[in-house]
């Protein structure tokens, strides 16, 4: 499956800025990178694409010296090089723009840029030089930014610009960008790409890590595809197409062949009206969302991660408060002025499978049986009155472990010692067993193995057929298309539109996820 690249490059004969030979890296039992080969030609934009968790970031952190590979070789400009720290990487002309910016928010731009290369023991000495670098970069690449501005007061796009300046200031010849557009508006992303092209034409080699196919097609010269910690292919961008890349990335034929059957939607159980959320910093995270979820249907929410889905889920579950708008759940009204906490929302008959089981869904240090009553622990299930009935809880846990095929079937095992799929099943078993009338689901199969995915999907369909109203948020388009009866698309905190499943196709949804309305998309 893995293709070697070394041959290809000898053929083209262009100089390699960077070459990795069978690099491996494990974290505990997780093998994040396995025998990864990579060759990057100088002066090109080289994309590295893969799903979340495919090992892209680990690989880049190895390149930048933040992690050390367990084995393998790294060649820079044709020389075998050992990079043990980020200082080494910087010394070899490698700069990195991190997904989460490495900026000190309460520092000024120039302080951030100087950090690590101050040019002398007194700041005064290096200041003038840094100002000149800022000026030059501004003129050459159009990256202007006020040196005295405090970073936390800059827009995300400008903050990223500071990151790029930091990476380039020492004359870096290789620039790594880790998911650079994840936090940018489309406009800012466009500006970024323009800058990257100028840099490439100037001879800088750029490594662009992304999970977005469109970016790879738009800007890269070559692309390498990662999956499950391995390199599964290398292509010249002009010789490939999105379909091929997607297949390589996913590596499994659309396995979402769950028989959806026919939905019989009845009355709406969840109705959202004009729901808005503005952050304390004034960002509009949700803008006037209005939709309904009916009994016996699954409303899928499609969108690129970070477009307001998480906030929507948390507000519906009572974990966050909306700024304005109202929610009707089974006839009861929750308004922004009179919010309900998660406990009351749960009591109304709402179940919630949270997006992130490690942060929200589970207490990893708790035993499975303690987790199986999380959120239901104050009900009779966990014991009468103020005391826990551990015997009943154990018995209940065993039953659910059988029903939902959770393994190992040891109620006393701590949650952290289960596999991802089984952890997720603990959450799902708990939430579904409470017989919710409305179920809010976020990323139900993230980091879950294939067998468990199918099982979870079947459970969701079964619950729908039992008359539950389900809101399903997923970044996996396949999952949305495979399970939903209607699909809502979100972009930048707004609902772009709601389609019936029959009207929807991947292309149309893709355009809507980019912010085009359904009419435009059609």
């Amino acid at each position: 499956m893995t293709e070697s690249l070394s041959g290809e490059n000898q053929a083209t004969g262009s100089p390699l800025a960077l070459q990795l030979k069978s690099v491996s890296k494990s974290f505990g039992l997780v093998r994040a990178n396995r025998d990864v080969d990579l060759s990057v030609e100088a002066g090109t934009i080289h994309g590295i694409i893969g799903e979340n968790g495919a090992g892209k970031s680990t690989l880049m952190n190895i390149l930048y010296g933040l992690h050390r590979a367990d084995s393998g070789e790294m060649w820079i400009d044709g020389e075998l090089t050992a990079i043990r720290s980020s200082a080494d990487a910087i010394g070899h002309g490698i700069g990195m723009v991190h997904q989460h910016f490495m900026l000190v928010p309460n520092f000024s731009v120039i302080e951030n840029v100087m950090l690590g290369s101050e040019g002398g023991s007194l700041l005064k000495e290096g200041r003038t030089a840094t100002l000149k670098v800022l000026d030059d970069l501004g003129q050459n690449y159009g990256m202007t930014v006020d040196p005295e501005a405090i970073v936390s007061e800059l827009s995300v796009g400008l903050q990223q610009r500071v990151e790029i300046i930091k990476a380039l200031k020492g004359g870096a010849r290789v620039l790594i960008l880790d998911e650079p557009t994840g936090v940018l508006t489309p406009n800012e992303a466009q500006q970024l790409f323009e800058i990257l092209k100028v840099l490439r034409d100037d001879g800088v080699t750029i490594l662009l890590i992304t999970h977005k196919l469109a970016e790879i097609m738009a800007i890269t010269d070559a692309v390498s595809i990662m999956r499950n910690g391995e390199m599964v292919g290398h292509r010249k961008t002009r010789e490939t197409n999105p379909q091929e890349l997607a297949e390589l990335m996913v590596g499994r034929q659309v396995l979402l062949n769950v028989d959806r059957g026919v939905a019989n939607p009845a009355e709406p159980l969840l109705a959202v009206e004009d729901l808005s959320l503005t952050s304390s910093g004034g960002q509009e995270l949700l803008k006037k969302m209005s939709f309904e979820v009916r009994a016996g249907e699954i409303l899928g929410v499609a969108g690129v991660a970070g477009n307001g889905q998480s906030e929507l889920l948390e507000i519906l579950a009572g974990m966050q408060q909306a700024t304005s708008g109202s929610i009707q759940v089974l006839g009861q009204t929750i308004t922004a002025k009179d919010p309900k906490d998660p406990k009351s929302v749960r009591a109304m008959g709402v179940g919630h499978i949270p997006e992130d089981r490690h942060h929200h869904g589970l207490v990893l240090e708790f035993e499975a049986q303690e987790n199986i009553v999380l959120g239901q622990h104050d009900g009779a299930l966990a014991g009468q009155g103020k005391f826990l009935d551990n015997r009943a809880i154990t018995a209940h846990c065993r039953t659910l472990m059988d029903t939902y095929d959770i393994r190992p079937t040891n109620p006393n095992l701590k949650a952290k010692n289960f596999s991802g799929g089984n952890q997720q099943k603990i959450v799902i078993a708990r939430e579904m067993n409470a017989n919710p009338k409305v179920l809010i689901v976020g990323q139900p199969t993230r980091g879950v193995d294939i067998g468990a995915i199918e099982f979870i999907h079947k459970q969701l369909i079964a619950l729908r057929d039992a008359g539950c109203a389900i809101l399903l948020v997923s970044v996996e388009l396949d999952e949305i298309m495979g399970l939903s009866d209607r699909i809502m698309v979100m972009n930048a905190g707004k609902q772009v539109g709601i389609l019936d499943r029959e009207e929807a196709n991947e292309q149309k949804l893709g355009l809507m996820m980019a912010g085009l309305s359904s009419d435009q998309a059609a």
Binding site: Y64, L66, H67, S85, S86, A87, D88, A89, I90, G91, M96, H98, M102, L103, V104, P105, N106, F107, E111, N112, M114, L115, G116, S117, E118, G120, S121, L122, L123, K124, G126, K166
Partner: protein
């Protein structure tokens, strides 16, 4: 000069003397905490410094050697803190507490073993401690009304360590804001990953911050036993390290505001001893305990956001894990 004004002058004079160890410890606390390491062990380092300074000064007859010894011992304590919190990512509060308790036990145990005086050091003779330094022209200015008295009582006549402490405040501010080390130090307490990614060692930076903290606490300790006092008595730090910590918070982790906080706290202590049993106009008699507790009360109120807002360094208390 009226009696009231003179009393006030003496109170200010006392303020400076009482604030000196607080100032030194507060600067120590700023270096440590700005680098992201909580330092409740100021107290223990101060106590250690006080003991070693007195012991060395008594043994060698030189107060300056005493200062040197105090610095060395206090830095050692700092290094234990660093070893636990930086190298082994231990809980910084627990480690600080251990050091404070260790210091209590060690100073008395070793003190008894060395001097057999129940944990005290022998009284230091004149040459073994820091005496007041007469400034130039005191006699000349003495005849100038008011200003002369102020010059004589308030500005001149303190010992060297007082002036050193006051001098070290602008030095600390300079280091923090104008040097490469200071820039990195401030960054590592906010976003250590940014420092790491810039190719600078987080661990070594924090160790250096702790060395500085140890150094300053050592001087503060020497001040207690060889300048303000004339020998070490057990538990002589008496919570000053904690007041200094309060001053660090009150000064929002910045040298000059922290200096002002130290002076304020010093003033409260100085005034409380003068006001004992003296009714004030309008307010009546103020319990001295209230004045002594004010630094703590004000710090609690500040931390709770009732008076202004204190934003600690963001990475404080968090061991850095790549």
């Amino acid at each position: 000069m009226s009696e009231f004004a003179l009393q006030l002058l003496y109170t200010f004079d006392g303020t400076i003397r009482l604030a000196t160890p607080l100032i030194l410890c507060a600067m120590a606390g700023i270096f440590s905490e700005r680098s992201g390491v909580i330092d409740i062990s100021l107290e223990g380092k101060l106590l250690t410094g006080a003991f070693v300074a007195a012991a060395v000064a008594h043994t060698t007859g030189s107060p300056w050697l005493g200062v040197g010894g105090a610095i060395l011992a206090s830095v050692c304590m700092s290094m234990i803190h660093g070893f636990a919190c930086i190298t082994h990512r231990g809980n910084q509060v627990v480690s600080g507490l251990a050091i404070n308790i260790l210091a209590s036990g060690l100073t008395v145990t070793i003190g008894i073993a060395l001097f057999r005086q129940g944990g005290q050091t022998p009284l230091l003779a004149k040459g073994e401690r820091f005496g007041p330094t007469e400034w130039w022209l005191v006699d000349l200015f003495n005849h100038v009304p008011i200003l002369g008295t102020i010059y004589r009582e308030l500005i001149s006549g303190h010992n060297m360590l007082v002036y050193l402490a006051l001098f070290l405040v602008p030095v600390s501010a300079f280091i923090l804001y104008k040097t490469r080390f200071g820039l990195r130090l401030r960054a590592v307490g906010e976003v250590p990953a940014a420092v790491d990614s810039a190719g600078v060692s987080v661990i070594w930076l924090r160790y250096r911050a702790l060395i500085l903290a140890g150094l300053l606490c050592g001087i503060a300790g020497a001040y207690l036993s060889t300048a303000q006092g004339a020998g070490f008595v057990r538990e002589m730090s008496a919570g000053k390290g904690y007041i200094a910590l309060a001053a660090v918070i009150f000064g929002k982790w910045r040298p000059v505001p922290a200096l002002l906080a130290c002076l304020l706290f010093g003033f409260l202590e100085s005034a409380s001893s003068r006001l004992e049993g003296v009714p004030l106009p309008l307010i009546g008699e103020v319990p001295t305990q209230l004045m002594l507790a004010l630094p703590y009360i004000m710090t609690v109120l500040l931390l709770a956001g009732f008076i202004g807002k204190a934003n600690p360094p963001k990475a404080i208390g968090e061991p850095y894990i790549k």
